[in-house]
Symmetry: C2
Subunit: 171 residues, 2 copies
């Protein structure tokens, strides 16, 4: 089980990219706090309805409690941050652990407590880029590329890959 955790502070467009990436690249769901946005939730649930699941979206008022609950149930917490230890050195230990994983991706202004609460603070390079990139590369390394051909249940449409142009089939 792997869930994304995100504290949404302002930009729902980037948050949408983050949640869609979590779904597409193998997370089972997302827990988020901060600004609640029912349009965002609807958008993700519509994607699940059309493209398949399962993928869960949960909102928690209190981020600390959500993280504490996760740890209480035996799960571990992985925080993606440009200040953390390189992915290249951390990934083996993370893959070797069979514990449920909560992946925290913050963007700007992550409280310092998150660094303390996390079992792993992991950097996807130490350069500034994007929480969407960090999440993508983390999941890609964790799932060893298998996430790119993940099958989803109850999808209504599917793309047939083409050399040129677009082909979508209804299922």
């Amino acid at each position: 089980m792997l869930r994304l955790f995100h504290r949404c502070v302002r930009d729902h467009r980037v948050t949408t990219h983050l949640f869609l990436t979590a779904r597409a690249f193998g997370a089972n769901g997302v827990i988020y706090s901060g600004l609640r946005d029912s349009q965002l939730e609807d958008r993700i649930l519509r994607t699940v309805d059309v493209w398949g699941g399962p993928f869960h979206v949960e909102f928690h008022e209190n981020w600390k409690q959500a993280v504490a609950n996760w740890k209480k149930k035996g799960g571990e917490v992985i925080h993606l941050t440009m200040y953390g230890l390189p992915l290249e050195s951390a990934i083996k230990g993370i893959k070797d652990s069979s514990r449920d994983k909560l992946v925290i991706v913050g963007g700007a202004k992550v409280p310092l407590e998150v660094y303390e609460l996390s079992d792993w603070n992991v950097s996807i390079s130490n350069q500034p880029h994007s929480e969407v990139s960090a999440l993508s590369i983390f999941l890609h390394e964790l799932f060893e590329g298998k996430e790119l051909s993940k099958a989803f249940k109850d999808a209504k449409i599917r793309i047939m890959p083409q050399r040129k142009g677009k082909k979508v089939v209804e299922l």
Copy 2:
């Protein structure tokens, strides 16, 4: 030489993530068309100033001409799209070619001509997610993970990776 090409249609926040990802993960620069945004350009150039380069940002009024120029000079064009051939099958051919690469990442509403003009239409999974994710995974596979420890010239600061907390040094 590898450049990102992007037609900016509305969302400059996502465009910023895209350009920063291009820089961090090994592209030499970006050519963009559509809506010009000097704030966006300044933001990227400030990042280059602080975190190092080289990384170029160019605006072209006419996207077709920009792509045609690239091809005329012998470069190839790789279009990342959920409708294309799987990265897993395309990446070897792309790596084997020594031609300069223009990576087109569009988001919604890419004109069909782009599919025709491109040497490669490549999908990073056939699921909906994010152009930022698509670019990240493409560059990560192309550069085989070496991009994560890329050195930048004339950086003014650098992060010292930490197990907990943040450490930044001035150079």
